[in-house]
Amino acid sequence: MDDLIAQLPLLIPLVLGGLAVWLLLPRDGVRAWALGGVCGLVALGALARHFAPPVDDSVHNVLFYLFGGGAVVVGTLMITDRNPVYAALWFALVTLCTCGLFLLNSAPFLAAATVIVYAGAIVVTFLFVIMLAQQAGAAGYDRRAFQPELAVIGGCLVLGALLYTLQEWTVEQPLLFVTSPMAANPLSEPQALPDGEIIGESDLGTLRGVGRSLFGDYLFAVELAGTVLLIATIGAIALAPRRSQGTL
């Protein structure tokens, strides 16, 4: 019981967040917008306080709260919106917030690539939504979620397990994130690169560093990824409806 009470700063945001998602999921009748929104924001604030980064770089922190909190809020809006067109738009915003987090992690190339790839994917998805789902107005399957209680409970269990592990890790190694990021925890010990060279901080995130790692250490994986792309292309062409089978 004491353990449970000790975990209250984690349990309360989890329960509130699950309640918020459950209240906001589409259903018949009126949804409790205000109550769900307040519950969700309180849960998000409590979690942000719990997992707050050490404050010594205010610009970085502000950007992190902006992008991280934005991603979570917009993601919640995406899975709870009744209109699939709006859901696709919210997903575009989730992608943009994620790209902001990539930038904070000094991965500008990845941010650009994600925007380009997902922009194409989202535009195509958007066309599909407008083409297929908007022919007869709002459909019944978008107005009612399928078993929201079970899904929310399951999601809260998964999230609780993940956050509990993270929290234990943070509490056990309080100095890890302040002094040296590469010390102490054996699980986070960086593996030495095969040639014994660790790319320096100045090289991290540049195209040179990413390219050297991609085409040096992971060359076979690149070949495999190319094969996967080829097979996916062939499969998509083989599965696509023929013109002789009629149109939509």
Binding site: A52, F64, N105, A107
Partner: protein, 141 residues
């Protein structure tokens, strides 16, 4: 140096859980695919955060692979959705619940709308010609 690793991992975990909840609750095939993509985004945040934490580029390389797989998945999923839509004229995933084993417990859709009736095929018909025959009123009741 500020290391925002726990916060970033928490954001990734929350996005993953949100995507899982969306995948399980939404009944629109396209939205289910978008929820799966959101789970992939959460994993990508984790990978880049660990890459920065360890100071090497492996995390970003793995994220590139995740992007590759996401692109393949989006293409194949859209083709499958198009095929499924052509058969049932609806994006409701529960119309396909009979694909499961028959002896498993069926998750009955709660008061689901009846599926839209397929449009009647265009049958050929003869054009009427000649005067309308005079039927005796009330004789064939």
């Amino acid at each position: 140096m500020t290391d925002p690793l726990p916060g970033q991992l928490a954001v990734g975990a929350i996005l993953f859980a949100l995507g899982a909840v969306g995948f399980l609750t939404r009944r629109n095939l396209i939205l289910m695919m978008l929820s799966a993509e959101m789970m992939l985004l959460g994993v990508s945040i984790n990978l880049t955060a660990f890459g920065r934490h360890h100071g090497n580029a492996s995390g970003q390389v793995f994220t590139i692979f995740v992007l590759t797989v996401a692109a393949c998945e989006a293409g194949l999923a859209l083709v499958l959705i198009l095929n499924l839509y052509r058969r049932r004229k609806s994006l409701d995933v529960q119309l396909w619940s009979n694909l499961g084993e028959p002896d498993l417990p069926q998750l009955a859709p709660e008061d689901a709308d009846p599926p839209a009736a397929p449009p009647a095929p265009e049958l050929p018909h003869l054009t009427p010609s000649g005067p309308l025959p005079k039927a005796p009123v009330g004789a064939w009741k």
